[in-house]
Amino acid sequence: MIKKGHTESLLPEEAKAVVWRIFGEGESPLKGRSTFSLIKPMIEKHVPFHNQNSAIAEIRGWFESYGDRHWLKSEMGEQVAVLILEGMKSERSESAVWAVGSIEPDLAARIIRAGWRPQEFDSFVDATFKALKKLCDRNKVLDAARFPRLSNQNSNDGRVPTNAVVRPGWLAIFQHLDSHGFELVYEGLQRTAGNLIDLIFDMMPEEFESLLGRLGHPVMQARAANRVIGRTRVKQNRKTLQWIKDDSSDILVALAIVHTLNAVNRLDEDLRYAERSNAEHYNWSTELRPPRDDLDSAGVGLITGITDRLADFEPLRCTRWIGELLGTAPNIIHRGENNEVPKRIKQLEEACTKLLGRLFRESWSEELKDELCNGLQLAGRGTWSRHLASIAWEIRDVKPERAAEVAIAALHEGERQIAEQMKENRIFLYWNDWEYRAWIQGLGAALSLSSDELHLPTWLSARCRALPLSVWDAEENHEVFHCAERAAQTWFLVAFSAIPYLNELGRCVDPNEVRELAEMCWNHCDFASLYVRSQPETSFVSEYVVRLAVEYGHPSDTWLLNQARNRGVGPRALWALIHQRDQKIARDGGTAAHYGQTITIELLRIAADRFRSEGTFDLEELRFWGQLWLLLGAIDESEQTAIEISSFPENLLDRTDNLLVLKLLATVANQRRLLPRLRDDATTLYRQLWPGTYTPAEEREDRTEIDERFNRK
C-alpha cells in the first residue's frame, strides 16, 4: 500500500512535478552535483513565484543536515519515491532514470508493480541500459573517490578505467570480484547504478541471461548476478548450472561456475552445521534439508554438473574452460583446516582430468593442449603444470606416446618455473601446501612417463650440475647458491616422487639406483651445509628421501648402518630412517628378534656417538634427536636432549617441545630415578601442560603413557 500522506496537502502540484527533476539531476553520477543544492534553482525555474518559498522550505525539510552534508530522512523515502515515480510519468530521459536510481530498489519495485504497465517498464529498462552504457563509456561506473589507487593516475579526473579492475580470464575476474570485491560491487559501484541494476533484475529475473550482456562492466555484471542468485539459490541450488550452455556467453559461464562452486561451499557449511548442532533455527543456504536430503551428494552433483555441462561445449572451448576452472577453483572452494587436499577440489580435479583425458584421447590436437595451458595459466598459479601431468597419467595406457608428449611438456614447464624462480632468487619449498606437494608428485609422474629409459641418478645429476652449486658460486654469490641449493632439493623431491609411479608402471626402479639417489642426497646435504645456514640435512626433503629409500631401495642392514654413520644424514633423516625401517619390518613380517635387536643396538650406538661428537645442535635438530631417542629408548641421550631443549628461551619453545621434553624425562624416569632438579622440572612442565584433568584429544595417548612411565618408579 502506498502512503501519500501529508505531501499532497503541503506541496503545490507544480512543485510535486519538479521533484523527480531535482533528484534526477542531483543523483546523476555523471554530473557530480548534490540534490540539496538543486532544490532552490529547480523550484525557481519550474514553480510560480508565489509558491516558491514554501516549496523550497518544504522540500528542504525532507533532508537531514550535518555541516555541508545533507541526506534524505529515512521516513521520507517512500513519499519521495511516489512523487518521483508518479511525477516522471512517461518521461524516460537520463534524469528520470537517475531519479528512479535514487530510490531503494525494493521500494521502487513495489511501487512500479502497483502502478506501471509492462510497456512502461520495458521502456524504462531501455532508458536505464542507455544511461548505464553512458556511465561505462565515461569510466564512471565506480566512485573514484572511494578508490584513489584505481583511478586514472594520469588525468586525476575522478574516473576508474575498466581495465583497473579487469584481469585476464573471465573466471578469474568474477572469482576475484566474488572473493575480494565487496567493496567494488557494493561500495564502489555508483549507488544509483547499483539500485537500478537491482531493480531491473528483481523485476525481470527470468531475463537475466539475455540482459546480462547489455551491462558493459564486470562490476555491474557481478552485481546483477549476485542479485539474481541471492533470490534463486534458496529455492533452486542447481539454478546456476543451467546457465552453462554451449550458446552462453563467456561472462555467463564464468558467473555460473563461480556461483555453482559457491553453492558447493554453502552446502558443505550446511552439512557441517547439521552434523554438529541443533539446526532448528539455522538459516539454510538452499532448499535442501538434511537428513531428508543428502547434502554431500548434492555438492558432488554440482561439481560433476559443471564438468558435464562443459563437456557439451566444442572441444577447444571446453578445454579452455576446464583449464580456467582447474586454475581458479582452489581460490573459490574452501580449504580445510589441515594441509591436505580439500575433498571438493579432489572431486573436481578427478572429474576434470577424466573429461580432459577423454578429449585428449578423442579430439587430440596441439591447439587442445595450448588452450588447456592458456586456461590454466590465467589463474596465475605456479603449480599448474601438475594438471598436464595428471592428464598424461590418465591416458598412459590408451595413448602412451601422447602421454609421454604431454608429460614432457609438464616437465619442461616445471623446469621453466624453477629456472624463472632461480632468476628472481625466490625458490621456496612449500611442503605444507597441498598444491605444492601435488605439483611435485605431478612432476614425478611426468618424469616417470617422459622416457622409457630413465636412469634417475643420471637425470638428477644433469639437473643439479646445471645449477650454480660449486664452491666458487657459494663464495661469490651466496644468495644465488642458496637458491640453487633449494632448486637441487626440489629436483631430489621430483626424482624420488617418480619412483612409486615407475613401480606402478611396471618399470620397477633398481633398488641400487634408489640407494644411489639417497647417497647423492646425503653428499649434497653434507656439502651444502658447509655454505648455507638453512641446514639442508634437517629439511623435510631428507626425511622424504630416506623414507622412500627404505621403502624402495631394499636396503641391507649394513647399508642402513653405513647411512647412519654418514654426516650428511642429519638427525631428521636418521630418525626417519629408523622409523621407516621399523614400520617396514612391522608391515613385512620383520626379521628374527635377536638379530633386529642387535641392529637396533648398533644404530643406537652410532647415533649416540654422533650426538656426542657432532657438537652443538639447534632446536630443530634437537627435536629430531629427541624423537629418535624415544624411538630407540636411549636413556642418557634422552636426559641430555631434554636438558638441552629446556635450556632454550621459553619463547622459542612451543607446546609440542614441552610435551617432547616431558616424554623424554618420562623415558628416563621409567629406567632410573631422575635427578631432583629434573624431577622438579618435569612436575612443573606436567602442570603447565595439563593443569587439570582435561587433556586435548590428540594428547590423551601421550599423557597416559607419561603417567604410566612416571608411576612405575
Binding site: R465, V471, E475, G615, S647
Partner: protein, 565 residues
C-alpha cells in the same frame, strides 16, 4: 715448470755449488732436461721453505706449494674498456683449489670465458680451467703484457717481481689484516703482482667518488674488497687455497670449544694454537697437537671471542688462522669516563673496563735488501691510499677541502660558504691572516675581497694580521674599496714588542659555530692553492678572542696591537 740451477741460484741468493751439493746429498730433487739439470718449482719451494731461504722467482714463474695437476682454478678479470677491443686491467684474481673440493655437482671446468657488463664500461670476465691452463694465461700476460679474452685485449702493467704473502680467515669486523683469504673455509697463499700505473687508479677513484654504492653491489661476486682497497687496482693476484687441511672452531653452549681438523693426506705434521677471550681478557690459550677429527677444549669461563692458528711443524709456517667473534645478545650501556678508559655495563650486571691502546706505537720492519725496493713502493702506495681515504672521510664530513692554484674560484666559493654559515647570528667573525695587508700578487684577489666583505655585511668581521708599520702606511689597495662595503671590517695588527716580528703565523677563520684552519694566506691562494680543515677544539677561537681583547698600542699586554682600519 722447472728452474735451472742458475735461476734457482739467483732466486735464493745461494751459489751454484751450494745447490749442487744439496742435489748430490739428495736434499733437493733434480732432473735432467736435455743437457741441463733442472729443479721443479714446487720442489724448489719446499726445499727453500724448509731452510728458511728467500725465494725470489723469475717473473714468469708462479709459486704454489700444492701439486698443480689436481687443482682447478678460476680467473676473474675486472677490466675497464678503453675501446671496443681494448681494455685495461682493474684487478685480476686467480684462485685455485683442489679439484675434488668443488662440490658434488661441479663438472669439468669448461675452459671458456664468460663475461658480464657491470656498467660504467667495467666488464667482468671469468674463466674456469685446470690450474695449469690458467698458469699459461698468466705466462701470456707476462710475455705480451696483454690477455686476449675473445675479441678483447686486456692490458696489464705489472711489476715483474711478485710479492708473496699469506691471507688468513678472520671473521671479525673491521680487522686490520691487509688481505683476507678469498676462500671461506681455507687460508690462502698469495702471490701478488703490483701495478703502480696511476691513471687506471685515478679513474677508479673518480668512479668511487660518485658510484661507490653501486660498485660495491656490482662487485659482490669478486671475493676481494676492491672498493675498500683501491690501492690494489691494476694488480694481478694469485691465491691458492691452503686446502690440504680443513679446520674449524666452534663454541658449544656449555662453554667448551670444539676444534675440527681434516686433512686430505696427512704427510705433514701440524700443531694448533687455540685461544679464547671474554671481554678482552684472555681466558684460554692452548697449544694442542693436531689430530684428524674433533677435539674438545674445555674453557673455564664464558667466551665471546675465539680463534685458532695452525702451524706446519717443519717450518713453523702458519697455514690457517681464524678469528671469530661470537655474537652475544646483551644490552649494554657505554660511557667514556675519563682518559682512555671505556666502561661497559651490562644491564643489571657487572661493569667491564677496557683500556684502549696507548697513543704511540712503533713497529720495526726489517726486510731483505732485494725486496726492500718493492716493499717501499708498496708502502708508499699504501700510505698514499690511506691519505686518500682519510681525506675522503673528512670531505664527506665537510671537514676538509683542498683546492689547487687552478681552483681559485672554487676555493673562494668554499670560503664564502664558510663565512655565510649561521648568517642569522650577529656575533663577530674572526679571520686571522698574518699577511692580510700584503698586496695580492694576482688581480683576481679583488674578487675574493669583495665577496668576503659582502658575505659579512650584516656583522662585524675582525681581521687579525701581523702587518708592520710600513705596510700599514701603504695600504693603497685597501683604500680602493668603497667605505660602504668595508665599514663593518676592523683590522688589527699583532706583533711582538721587542723583535717586532709577527705575533702569530697561523691562518684561521672563526665563525660563531665553526673553527677552520686555513693553510695559506688569502693573497697566496691563486699561486699556491689552499686547504681548509675544520677543527673541533676551539683553540683558535680562544686565541682570537684573547688577541682581540688586548689593549691597542699598549705595552702591558705582551704584544703590540695596532688598529689598522
Amino acid at each position: 715448470m722447472d728452474l735451472t740451477i742458475a735461476e734457482l741460484s739467483r732466486a735464493t741468493g745461494k751459489s751454484g755449488n751450494y745447490l749442487r751439493q744439496h742435489i748430490h746429498r739428495k736434499h733437493l730433487k733434480a732432473h735432467r732436461k736435455g743437457r741441463r739439470v733442472c729443479v721443479s718449482v714446487d720442489e724448489a719451494v719446499r726445499w727453500a721453505r724448509e731452510r728458511g731461504l728467500p725465494l725470489d722467482l723469475p717473473a714468469n714463474v708462479a709459486i704454489t706449494s700444492q701439486p698443480k695437476q689436481d687443482r682447478t682454478a678460476r680467473i676473474t678479470v675486472l677490466a675497464i674498456l678503453e675501446s671496443a677491443a681494448v681494455a685495461r686491467n682493474l684487478f685480476t684474481l686467480l684462485r685455485h683449489r683442489r679439484s675434488d673440493a668443488l662440490g658434488p655437482w661441479a663438472g669439468e671446468p669448461d675452459g671458456t670465458w664468460h663475461s658480464s657488463d657491470l656498467g660504467q664500461e667495467i666488464w667482468l670476465f671469468t674463466f674456469d680451467a685446470p690450474l695449469t691452463r690458467c698458469q699459461e694465461l698468466v705466462d701470456e700476460i707476462f710475455e705480451s703484457g696483454t690477455l686476449q679474452i675473445e675479441d678483447t685485449a686486456v692490458h696489464f702493467d705489472l711489476e715483474p717481481h711478485p710479492r708473496c704473502h699469506w691471507a688468513y680467515r678472520d671473521d671479525r669486523p673491521l680487522n686490520d689484516a691487509s688481505v683476507r683469504s678469498p676462500f671461506s673455509r681455507h687460508s690462502a697463499e698469495v702471490i701478488e703482482y703490483w701495478s703502480f700505473v696511476p691513471d687506471v687508479r685515478s679513474r677508479w677513484l673518480e668512479m668511487l667518488k660518485t658510484q661507490r654504492g653501486k660498485l660495491e653491489s656490482r662487485l659482490k661476486s669478486i671475493p676481494f674488497p676492491l672498493v675498500r682497497g683501491p690501492d690494489r687496482i691494476g694488480n694481478l693476484m694469485i691465491a691458492g687455497a691452503l686446502d690440504e687441511i680443513t679446520c674449524d672452531l666452534s663454541a658449544n653452549r656449555d662453554g667448551s670449544l670444539r676444534f675440527h681438523f681434516d686433512a686430505v693426506n696427512l704427510h705433514e705434521k701440524y700443531r694448533a694454537e687455540i685461544w679464547a677471550s671474554h671481554s678482552g681478557d684472555d681466558v684460554l690459550r692452548k697449544e694442542t697437537p693436531v689430530t684428524p677429527g674433533q677435539t674438545t677444549i674445555e674453557a673455564t669461563s664464558d667466551v665471546d671471542d675465539i680463534g685458532f692458528a695452525v702451524y706446519r711443524s717443519t717450518d713453523g709456517q702458519c697455514i690457517d688462522l681464524m678469528h671469530v667473534r661470537i655474537v652475544l645478545e646483551v644490552q649494554i650501556q657505554m660511557s667514556v669516563e675519563s682518559g682512555r678508559t671505556l666502561r661497559h655495563q651490562i644491564k643489571q650486571g657487572p661493569v667491564f673496563c677496557v683500556t684502549l691502546p696507548g697513543d704511540h706505537s712503533a713497529t720495526t720492519v726489517e726486510s731483505d735488501h732485494e725486496r726492500s725496493g718493492l716493499d717501499k713502493r708498496i708502502r708508499r702506495h699504501w700510505l698514499e691510499q690511506k691519505a686518500y681515504e682519510q681525506e675522503t672521510i673528512a670531505r664527506r664530513d665537510r671537514n676538509f677541502a683542498r683546492f689547487g692554484p687552478d681552483e681559485f674560484d672554487e676555493a673562494v666559493s668554499h670560503f664564502i660558504g664558510l663565512l655565510r654559515q649561521n648568517h642569522d647570528n650577529n656575533d663577530p667573525v674572526y679571520l686571522a691572516d698574518p699577511y692580510f695587508m700584503n698586496p695580492a700578487a694576482k688581480s683576481n684577489c679583488t674578487k675574493l675581497y669583495l665577496e668576503m666583505f659582502a658575505a659579512t655585511k650584516d656583522r662585524e668581521l675582525r681581521i687579525l694580521c701581523t702587518a708592520n708599520e710600513c705596510l700599514i702606511a701603504s695600504q693603497w689597495w685597501w683604500s680602493d674599496f668603497p667605505d660602504e662595503i668595508t665599514s663593518h671590517i676592523r683590522v688589527r695588527s699583532f706583533r711582538k714588542p721587542n723583535d717586532k716580528k709577527g705575533a702569530f703565523h697561523d691562518r684561521f677563520l672563526i665563525t660563531p659555530t665553526h673553527e677552520t684552519l686555513i693553510t695559506h694566506s688569502l693573497n697566496g691562494w691563486a699561486t699556491d692553492g689552499v686547504t681548509f680543515a675544520g677543527l673541533p677544539y676551539e683553540i683558535y677561537r680562544n686565541e682570537a678572542l684573547h688577541f682581540w681583547s688586548m689593549e691597542i698600542e699598549s705595552t702591558n699586554t705582551g704584544l703590540f696591537v695596532r688598529e689598522v682600519c
